[in-house]
């Protein structure tokens, strides 16, 4: 009964909120305006969930659903990701065979830099994610790349996020390279485009559908997405990367999962992370 009421209420709210378009700027290079999009998204969620603090959106669904939040707070009493952060620290500080280490590959020795990822790399002409650069660092030093979804790569990424906690997310779209804005636009289009057997877009569930039950799940709000990755999901019983989640989300919504770190996933991460500018790094997180 409670569930049904919630759904009915949610739908009416969502219908009303659709008038306040979440993405205010356009879908072509001439009109797209990332900053206008970001502000529009914040306004959308402010009017949708007036009681939720904008800064709290880094906590995902727990920013807007009290019941889930209570359980999550219990988990945070002793976060399930703590072992993984420690292991990530050890891995991060273990030198490669050539004597070098991850610290040599990153700005500031890799500490406290998560807020700058992903970023537009002009030389490579593509969006670089943190996970991508961790593996590039390995390969540049004669090591095999790590598997993308989970395990050591996720742990190293978790440690690097941990050292960056509470730093304001700072995604830049350099004006001197129009390809950067094109990458943002590509990610934005992907987010709003319907796909798969259920003809759902990311936005259907994570903008209009956020905090409305899909069977037993409450989709998290788009605002704040990516800020708490990598994530320890109870479902996985372990840590996983953002792109693992992208793939899983596509599978769950019956569309074809793409590969780890493919260009459009990186562009999607770029777009989503830009939406979080002003919020803080909160990874790794614990989710259901």
């Amino acid at each position: 009964m409670k569930i049904i009421k919630k759904l009915a209420l949610g739908l009416s709210v969502a219908a009303a909120a659709q008038m306040a378009q979440a993405a205010d700027s356009g879908f072509d290079l001439a009109t797209v305006d990332p900053e206008a999009d970001r502000i529009a998204l914040q306004k959308y969620f402010q009017s949708r969930f007036p009681k939720a603090e904008i800064n709290d959106y880094v906590n995902g669904i727990y920013a807007v659903d009290a019941d889930s939040r209570e359980q999550w707070e219990e988990l945070e009493e002793f976060p399930p990701y703590e072992f993984a952060v420690e292991e990530g620290e050890t891995l991060f500080n273990t030198p490669f065979a050539n004597g070098k280490g991850y610290a040599d590959c990153f700005e500031n020795g890799g500490i406290g830099i998560r807020q700058n990822y992903p970023y537009w790399n002009k030389e490579a002409g593509t969006v670089k994610t943190l996970e991508m650069e961790i593996n590039e660092c390995r390969e540049a030093n004669g090591e095999q790349p790590l598997k993308w979804a989970k395990g050591d790569l996720a742990k190293i990424s978790a440690y690097m996020a941990w050292t960056s906690r509470d730093k304001p997310i700072n995604i830049e779209i350099p004006a001197d390279d129009p390809r950067a804005k094109a990458a943002y636009l590509d990610g934005k289009k992907f987010f709003y485009a319907k796909r798969g057997q259920l003809t759902l877009s990311c936005a259907n569930c994570h903008v209009q559908g956020s905090n409305i039950r899909i069977r037993a799940d409450l989709p998290s709000p788009q605002l704040g997405h990516t800020s708490h990755f990598p994530v320890f999901r109870s479902k996985w019983g372990e840590l996983g990367t953002l792109h693992r989640r992208y793939k899983g989300c596509h599978k769950d919504s019956r569309s074809k999962p793409l590969g780890h770190q493919v260009e459009v996933y990186r562009n999607l991460e770029y777009f989503q992370s830009y939406m979080n500018n002003g919020l803080v790094v909160n990874g790794p997180g614990a989710r259901k």
């Binding site: 009493e77 002793f78 399930p80 703590e82 072992f83 019983g237």
Partner: protein, 105 residues
């Protein structure tokens, strides 16, 4: 040799010590099947955990397979001061057993 499996956060506050601990342990229930072979994975779980402070038992748990993976337990006891040692002894259903220590902060 065996690494410590317990992570303990113990804080002395006023006349009490608040203890939160997590064990890195699979807590294999014995009811799961190996996806490849279809055979049951044998149970392997923590059965007992005892916490001592100053030679006195302050907490003791008997656990079954319905305790979640990476078991979490929180409790408080009277006494304890910063720098005191807690002695934890655990035992698995396999017979494996160990004693670990942690300092109260």
């Amino acid at each position: 040799m065996a690494k410590n499996i317990l992570k303990v956060k113990a804080k002395a506050r006023g006349d009490k010590t608040k203890v939160k601990m997590m064990a890195k342990h699979i807590m294999e229930s014995g009811q799961r099947k190996d996806k490849k072979t279809g055979e049951l994975i044998p149970a392997k779980f923590l059965q007992e955990l005892k916490v001592e402070h100053g030679g006195k038992v302050v907490f003791e748990a008997s656990m079954g397979t319905a305790i979640s993976k990476n078991p979490y337990i929180a409790f408080n006891f009277a006494g304890g001061a910063k720098g005191d040692e807690l002695v934890m002894t655990w035992k698995e259903n396999t017979g494996a057993s160990a004693t670990e220590t942690a300092k109260i902060k």
